[in-house]
């Protein structure tokens, strides 16, 4: 099937003023590749500060003015130009943001879902989507500050579903929710995908992402280090990249072990593999170019990958 979204070799950098008038380019996302098919949930998993949200903003064309974009974005087979982004965003491509802070604090929920439309059809539609997520008609008359965390998430999903989208980008939809509520919210995204849309789930929570995702792209310091089927995460031996393996070990059911060190800040990445300084298997060659390449049923950015589906 034709993919809904193909991201290939996407790089995002910011122009910054450093010490007075000296300009510098700050790379935040480097060489990111990703594909989402209809009916699929693709999760992008990475720790905070790895540049995940910018990926969402890049696809929607709402990056700040000092951002610089390279690489290619294709939507349903054709290049996703800024003009196309503008025409599609909010209709075919929708964003589900993190929390109620993304709703206008002084506008009631109903008008926000309807985006200012006042006709009867829009009204019945907004009531319909709210009802679909177990929210009664009285929700329309609430202000964002009157919503609980879980309600706010469902309202945000309602804003997306009210548009009948083909691609839903969910940017960290679960923080602050307890495991059951988070599971329910993710269930809603699975439903949307089962309805035929593509879902890009951006999260730092690998464990939750695995409950609904078909494909998982692991993000480290602004780069995708591995793209694998969610099923690969069932067994450690199938994982290809050392960072993915480290993430696997950090899951509660797999020993809850973390590795020392932290992710480098944007602009401070070492040359070559960004994970090399923390990698147990790093060799001198890892300081050179490390290509993004297919490996055993997945994609990996490592000179000495392991595992794969053949194992």
């Amino acid at each position: 099937m034709e993919p809904i979204l193909e991201v290939s070799r996407l790089s995002i950098s910011f122009t910054q003023y450093d010490r007075g008038v000296h300009q510098r380019r700050l790379p935040v996302i480097r060489d990111l590749s990703l594909t989402i098919a209809p009916g699929q949930v693709a999760a992008v998993v990475g720790s905070s500060g790895s540049g995940k949200s910018l990926l969402a903003h890049a696809i929607l064309g709402i990056l700040p003015y000092n951002a610089h974009l390279e690489g290619q974005l294709r939507y349903r087979g054709a290049p996703l130009t800024p003009r196309r982004m503008e025409a599609l965003r909010g209709h075919e491509i929708v964003l589900v943001p993190q929390n109620a802070g993304y709703l206008d604090p002084l506008m009631k929920v109903g008008p926000q879902i309807r985006k200012g439309r006042r006709d009867k059809a829009a009204r019945s539609r907004s009531l319909g989507v709210l009802a679909r997520y177990g929210l009664g008609p009285e929700t329309e008359d609430l202000y964002p500050f009157e919503l609980s965390g879980g309600m706010a998430r469902r309202v945000l999903i309602s804003t997306a579903v009210a548009e009948s989208p083909r691609l839903v980008i969910a940017d960290e939809p679960t923080p602050g929710l307890d495991a059951r509520a988070a599971g329910r919210i993710l269930g809603h995204f699975r439903e949307i995908a089962d309805g035929g849309a593509g879902v890009l789930l951006i999260t730092h929570d690998l464990e939750l992402a695995l409950t609904i995702a078909d494909r998982v792209a692991v993000f480290y310091a602004g780069e995708t280090v591995e793209e694998a089927a969610a099923a690969d995460f069932a067994r450690l031996e199938r994982l290809r990249h050392p960072y993915t393996r480290a993430l696997w070990h950090a899951l509660p059911q797999n020993g809850f072990q973390s590795i020392p060190g932290g992710q480098p800040y944007p602009g401070a990445q070492p040359p070559g593999c960004a994970f090399a300084p923390r990698c147990p298997d790093a060799r001198p060659e890892c300081g050179g170019a490390v290509p993004w390449r297919p490996f055993q049923g997945g994609m990996v950015r490592c000179l000495y990958p392991k595992g794969g589906t053949a194992v």
């Binding site: 965003r89 929708v94 206008d104 604090p105 002084l106």
Partner: protein
Amino acid sequence: MRHRLGFAGKKLLRMVLLLLGVSLAAFLLMSASPLDPLQTNVGQAALGSMSPEQVARLEEYWGVHTPPVQRYLGWLGDFLRGDMGTSLLYRAPVRQVLGERLANSLWLMVFAWIFSGILGLVLGVTAGANRGRLPDRIIRGCCLTISSTPAFWLALLLLVIFAVWLGVLPIGLSIPIGADAASVTLADRLRHAALPALTLSITGMANIALHTREKMADIMTSDYVLFARARGEPKGSIIWRHGLRNVALPALTLQFASISEIFGGSVLVEQVFSYPGLGQAAVTAGLGGDLPLLLGITVISAAIVFGGNLIADLLYGIVDPRIRRGVACT
């Protein structure tokens, strides 16, 4: 509702204390003034030619030998009974002088207040929504220039342009010189009020525009505007639906807080245009040692400014759903 009444009650108590403090401060400053009312108002030469009895009568009239505590308490006692005393300079009840002056000034201030509010809001929203681009740079440049210009200097500039060079507007006063009070028309009054009102409006506008711009720029970089963009809302709709809605609350506070600035500005501006308003009366009373009039003006001005802020606070509770409903919930 009960909460709001309690809130208003507390505010009123605070207002009484404030007025007491302000009147006391004005009185103390006046007592500490090195200006001798006799010398200022009668003149050194005239005093020298007077008999000691005449001087003594004048000293009694100006209250030179009355102890300060007694003077203040006497004024306060009368004031509480509703008697604001008699102006020493105008030789008329303070209430009457205030009434006339306030009526004159109110023209200016109400016009300047509304005009500066509307124009300031429009310019501020325009600049904030286009931050960093040409409209913003022009508006910000103009507003910064105006706010760093002293009000009296701006008044002189307008005076030179409109009254001297172009000759389209009168040079000062509130009615034509030498005209019979009965023959003065409304158009005359408006023409005389135009320049002072314009000066006050321009200085007030710059401040409001700069503050509104800051708020609007914050709103445009907020998460909810980002989300509105992500949802495909066009910029005009974002400014209209989200920008104005969210800038309304700070603008309201700003608008009522600007009463005090317009009041302060009117003192200088009325002086430049010899406009017989409250501000000019305040200067005359202060320099001439007219204690009852000065205290009267001080108390009335403080009450109006306080009233403005109080209205803003109360309106906030009605307009902002977070306060209105937040209170209703608890």
